[in-house]
């Protein structure tokens, strides 16, 4: 019996098309993993398979030894929380109620749920908007509230699908600062991104975390796992270059590693 999540020879087909082919990796508790790859590589499908939202055509996804699709909903929600790529909430519910809803997995009084939701909002610096309607928030504010729902759900592993995509540079920095605090609290993170420079922020998280120190980078291309390397490995530059079909150069500045496009072909 292992802890954390384990993917064994995972294959997923949607209709006739095979989206994921023989994907193998595992994430230990508290680990930080970046999932990179070009558009259409199957990154979002991989997260959906981890959550049990899509059925594998072969292979398995197991949390602590149990298949995720046969777990009780509450147990699965205690293991993993998800920040989808497109969060559209059409109803004008107050932020506090919205965050409180993420406490579903707990059998507790409403007062307790509300207290947990409030402290989740404080932890992401969004407590001042608790009575605002979710549908009126700006992109950056909404993303903060979304992270608060993950904190309120209190899962061990956060699955983030391009979380900083629609944020401006200041908001992106603030967002990763927020993630760093979650990681310091011992949570694991799996973060999809195709922005290679955000990996620098993730490295900064690992430097100060109390969990396993290294950030892993997993490369996915056309449904195949191409590499699974630590962020500080020398081979990563080469691996990322071939993944994105670009020649990349690694630059270290202020202890962080950035990948910049080299000469254009």
């Amino acid at each position: 019996m292992s802890t954390g999540i384990q993917l064994d020879n995972l294959c997923v087909s949607l209709g006739q098309r095979e989206i994921l082919t023989d994907v193998n990796f595992s994430i230990a508790p508290g680990e930080c993993v970046a999932l990179v790859g070009p558009n259409g590589a199957g990154k979002s499908t991989l997260i959906r398979a981890m959550l049990g939202l899509v059925k594998p055509s072969a292979g398995s996804v197991r949390w602590a030894g149990t298949g995720v699709r046969s777990m009780r909903g509450q147990d699965r929600a205690a293991a993993m929380a998800w920040l989808p790529q497109h969060g559209i909430i059409s109803e004008a519910v107050p932020v506090l109620e919205f965050v409180k809803a993420a406490r579903f997995r707990f059998s507790e009084t409403r007062a307790k749920s509300l207290a947990a939701a409030r402290s989740a909002l404080v932890s992401v610096g969004a407590d001042h908007m608790e009575s605002q309607a979710v549908s009126t928030l700006s992109g950056g504010e909404l993303q903060r509230v979304m992270v608060a729902t993950l904190v309120a759900q209190d899962a061990q592993l956060f699955l983030l699908d391009e979380p900083a995509n629609h944020l401006d540079p200041a908001q992106q920095t603030a967002f990763y600062g927020m993630l760093r605090r979650q990681r310091e609290a011992g949570r694991g993170v799996l973060c999809i991104t195709h922005d290679m420079n955000l990996l620098g922020h993730l490295a900064a998280l690992a430097g100060q975390g109390s969990g396993p120190q290294s950030v892993r980078v997993i490369g996915l291309e056309e449904g195949h796992l191409r590499f699974d390397l630590p962020l500080d490995s020398a081979a990563l530059t080469e691996a990322l270059s071939s993944l994105f079909g670009l020649s990349l150069e690694a630059v270290t500045r202020g202890g962080r590693r950035y990948f910049l496009p080299g000469e254009s072909p």
Binding site: R48, L51, G52, L53, G73, Q74, D75, R76, A77, A78, M80, A81, W82, P84, G87, I88, I89, S90, E91, A92, V93, P94, E97, F98, K100, A101, A102, F104, R105, R110, V134, T149, Q153
Partner: protein, 312 residues
Amino acid sequence: MNWKVVLLALLCLMILGVAPWVGGSLGQDHSGFILIQLRIPRVIMGGIVGATLGLTGAVYQALFDNPLATPSTVGTTAGAALGALAVLVLVPSGASALPLVSLAAFAGALAVTFTIAAIAASGRARINDVLLAGIAITLATGAITTGLQFQADMASTFEAVRWSLGQLTQVGYAGVRVLTPIALVCCCLLLWQTRALEAMLGGEERAHAQGVNIRRTRTLCLAVGAIGVGACVAWCGPIAFVGLIVPHLIRLSLGPTRRILFPMSALSGAAFLVLCDALGRWWMPHADLPVGVVTAGLGAPLLTWLVTRRRV
């Protein structure tokens, strides 16, 4: 925010309390009979039916994340109408006593809604596809109903049309005694789903990730709603608009927070239906105007006005 809830609740309770005394004069010597054997059971019946329709409408709208979802759009009402009509037309009149019509209406409502619930429970269909299937089955059921009516003789067609308008006419407490436990259990089960439906605010897949068993929630809400609404429709005929209008009125005045929307939809549904019935009695004391006519006549312009006012 909270004072609005309290105010509306008080208004609803006031309507429910005053309604039995609205209408034609109670007379001198028969006042006890009219009030106790006719008016009060009628108001109780209206309250139960209105609460069930209002709550089920609100729950369906939340479940489908669609403002058009009601017991009528997923086929519950159409199924009931078909069942009732089949008995009214096919069984020789005289034998078609009220309990038989009610039973057939109930069976029809359940048959259609459980078909929809089965589609929803398969988990493969997206929730809006379930709604589309419901609309398709409603139309098909309506076509069969029309066909039956076309075949039928004048008397049973007339009876069927009367039934389809929706009536709260009661003598004594037989209906109340049958319907109260069914409606009470259904309403409690639906309110019990509040937390799961709150989690669905961010979509079904997010709710799944938060630990909600989507298939169970879908099936339970649809089936329980069908039993409650089916029982109401079986006894009173399809009463138009309550399930659609009441949740929207509450949403527009008190906001979409589920914890307030659901119970207040039930209470306001009860008050709305009883108010419509009382208005009908007051306006035409001797005509016994079907309450369905009043709910549609009053509700449709009210909703249109509220919705357009918000957009401007």
